[in-house]
């Protein structure tokens, strides 16, 4: 029989034992990392936890993070900004909402920074992160982000319109933010490599954009600056702003070709044209035309749903082909010179999710199989888009190359799409101030010549070619004047002719990025009848000879509005001069 004392001792021992086990359980529960090891961490989460664990004082830091809420390592990603540096960002949730964001700067011995919506003192990079809406990645994953966080904006880094009130050049800085995947088995060393590679792609993207916009100067961002754009030779601030945005679109599109890049954002750090001089913050987001574009996932998904397979004619999402590509050019298959257009690739078929990368290639129909690759990258929502600036007229055909995740060999789709890049309509340049001014100068020469030859009634026509420049402006290049003719008999008239081949800029005509001025029209003057022989009557406007030359290229002639006769004043308000247009309305495509 046990004595009461023994029973007590046994009970006490059991209590101590149980308490001891209980304490051990509590200690185990407190080990937060163990909790995540046991949870369903994905590759990103595992890599992130391993990295955090390798840093000094991680336990204290992690405890601070956990006090804020429930961290989600699986949703970690990295962001790079030339202005602000590189960070790993960790969302922390309360319930279903992200209320805190932890920034891990990519610098030695740096402390993570925890931010919530009520934080008042936080560095500019935090503002930049939210200004650039980098958090949209989480929203795409159905995570809600605290509204207070989303309203963070820059303090004072906006260039006001007042500073750009003068004519060009305009200074337009942008803040670039690139979100990229947190690698499996990532180490800080890998992130350094990524940062360097992204920086190089930003630089190359800017160089590529420069091809489309030679009037834009840029300052390579390096590691501590914004991308500073200087837009030259534009008439208005509005055009400068639009040019800068398109420039950034093209540049950032190149950055998207890196397979680990998720998003690229360009925040426009200048006052919007519509904002006038009142200041106020202006932030914008380069859409780059990329399928990997920011915040437009839903749009892309619905856009994709509306497309049909060119092979089986079912919806792309229901396409039963092995793999198919639908290629579209927008806004339509006839693109004007110096205008932007999008090439969209929609991927269908049972293997569509296996497509890792797509590549877009172009050639003119006149040069079959001389394909030129113009871009490529990862599709999003089975869609990839590329923005181009049209400056090489002709009929083009587009094909798509692709790589499967399981096979790096590039295959090509059998589907192609044709589109035309058209010369500008004569109405686009007929009344351009540069053209009008040039006409006035030619006319002055013409009158001067006639006046100085009045004793012999001699006149001659003066002319030029009208060029469209890559920046969208027009210019004129004078040609040899026409032969001298004496207006001393019935039917006497002047002529002028010039060959486009003598003035066209030579270049490779199958280059989609061709950036040489293009001849879009001809222009010439007729002449006053002031010093013609008595009695001579002239028609006005384009002559038969003029029209014969204008069957492939639009013509402009500077002449009086109504019929004239010898003795009429050179400058006659009752019969004013005007620009007549004749011939084709657009230069005919030949190359």
């Amino acid at each position: 029989m046990m004595r009461k004392n023994d029973v007590f001792r046994l009970g006490l021992s059991l209590c101590i034992l149980i308490a001891s086990y209980s304490c051990q359980d509590d200690e185990y529960e407190d080990n937060s990392f163990n909790k995540y090891y046991n949870a369903n961490l994905n590759m990103v989460g595992q890599a992130f936890i391993q990295n955090v664990e390798s840093t000094p004082a991680w336990e204290t830091q992690w405890a601070t993070v956990e006090k804020a809420g429930n961290p989600h390592p699986n949703e970690v990603f990295c962001v790079y900004s030339p202005s602000h540096g590189t960070f790993t960002v960790l969302p922390v949730l309360e319930g279903e909402e992200i209320t805190h964001v932890v920034f891990y700067p990519m610098t030695e011995n740096s402390e993570p920074l925890i931010i919530d919506g009520d934080t008042e003192d936080y560095p500019e990079y935090v503002r930049g992160f939210f200004q650039a809406q980098c958090y949209a990645t989480w929203e795409e994953h159905q995570l809600k982000v605290d509204r207070k966080l989303k309203t963070f904006v820059y303090n004072d880094s906006i260039v006001p319109a007042m500073r750009m009130a003068n004519p060009s050049p305009y200074f337009l800085p942008a803040d670039i933010w690139v979100s990229f995947t947190y690698y499996y088995n990532a180490t800080w060393t890998n992130l350094y490599v990524c940062r360097a590679e992204i920086g190089k792609h930003v630089e190359n993207g800017l160089i590529i954009a420069k091809r489309s916009f030679p009037n834009v100067l840029f300052d390579f961002p390096g590691t501590t600056h914004n991308v500073d754009l200087i837009v030259q030779n534009v008439a208005t601030y509005e055009i400068a702003s639009e040019t800068a945005i398109k420039f950034l679109d093209i540049a950032m599109n190149h950055v998207r070709t890196l397979n680990y890049v998720q998003r690229v954002w360009a925040v426009y750090c200048w006052t919007p044209p519509s904002g006038g001089a009142s200041g106020g913050y202006y932030g914008g987001f380069s859409n780059g035309g990329s399928g990997k574009d920011s915040g437009k996932g839903d749009d892309l998904a619905s856009e994709y749903e509306e497309r049909f397979c060119p092979v089986c004619h079912k919806r792309m999402s229901e396409c039963t082909c092995a793999i198919s590509f639908r290629i579209e050019v927008s806004p339509n298959n006839e693109v004007e010179l110096a205008k932007h257009y999008d090439i969209s690739v929609y991927i269908g078929g049972e293997m569509r999710s296996e497509v890792a990368n797509v590549f877009i290639e172009m050639t003119k129909t006149k040069y079959p199989n001389h394909w030129v690759r113009i871009g490529g990258g990862q599709p999003l929502h089975y869609t990839y888009k590329q923005t181009m600036m049209a400056f090489n007229p002709g009929e083009w055909v587009v094909q798509v190359g692709f790589q499967l995740k399981s096979d790096p060999t590039i295959g090509y789709s059998t589907s192609t799409t044709k589109f035309k890049v058209l010369y500008p309509h004569v109405d686009d340049f007929k009344n351009d101030p540069i053209v009008v001014s040039f006409f006035e100068d030619l006319w002055t020469k013409c009158v001067s010549f006639a006046e100085s030859h009045q004793s012999t009634h001699e006149v001659r026509e003066f002319g030029a070619f009208v060029f469209l420049n890559p920046d969208g402006s027009y210019s004129c290049t004078e040609v040899e004047p026409g032969p001298i003719v004496a207006l001393d008999h019935a039917g006497a008239h002047g002529t002028i002719s010039a060959s486009t081949g003598d003035y066209e800029y030579p270049s490779y005509w199958n280059d989609p990025f061709r950036q040489k001025p293009l001849i879009v029209g001809t222009m010439h003057t007729h002449y006053p009848a002031t010093w013609a022989a008595e009695g001579i009557h002239f028609p006005v406007g384009p002559s038969k000879k003029d029209i014969e030359f204008a069957q492939k290229i639009p013509g402009l002639v500077y002449d009086y509005t109504n019929k004239i006769k010898a003795g009429d004043a050179a400058d006659n308000p009752e019969n004013p001069l005007k620009i007549w247009d004749y011939g084709v309305k657009r230069r005919v495509l030949e190359d």
Partner: protein, 163 residues
């Protein structure tokens, strides 16, 4: 002596008499006579200044035009010098299956209504001569227009003029 003086006076009066003969108030003529007169003058002008443009297709197309500020037909130089005056425009039709003239006629002669004197001629090639009653012009062969045939297909070319 008296005889010589008489002959001299006769000779001096002849040009004036001749000039008087040329002046005809066309408006005062009956329609038939007016048409005959205008046709005769116009034929003479075209045969003289541009015989290659003379066509036998009849009737000629005759319009009466008064030069006013609102007038959109008369050229500025006529409006400047002859505001308020009336003229007859006589046009020579042509065979469109054989040739083409961008103005739609082979020749056009302007004849003043109050004097019946021809003022200008414009040919189908759009060129012409004004003040044709001036002897200096009338008698100068440099004002005679040379004819150049243009096939009917030329019509398509002229559609490229955007007036």
């Amino acid at each position: 002596m008296k005889t010589l003086l008489f002959i001299a006076m006769i000779l001096m009066a002849i040009p004036g008499m001749a000039q008087q003969k040329k002046t005809v108030n066309v408006d005062s003529l009956s329609e038939k006579k007016r048409t005959e007169y205008l046709t005769k003058v116009a034929e003479k002008v075209v045969k003289h200044f541009g015989p290659g443009y003379y066509r036998k297709i009849r009737p000629l197309v005759i319009d009466k035009i008064t030069i006013t500020p609102q007038d959109t037909i008369s050229p500025p130089y006529m409006k400047r010098e002859f505001m308020g005056r009336t003229y007859y425009r006589v046009r020579f039709p042509y065979d469109e299956n054989y040739e083409f003239f961008p103005l739609g006629y082979a020749a056009e002669v302007i004849i003043w209504a109050d004097t019946g004197i021809a003022y200008s001629v414009v040919f189908g090639n759009e060129f012409g001569v004004v003040d044709i009653n001036n002897p200096k012009i009338y008698n100068d062969s440099r004002y005679i227009m040379q004819y150049e045939w243009q096939p009917p297909e030329t019509r398509e070319l002229y559609k490229l003029i955007h007036r």
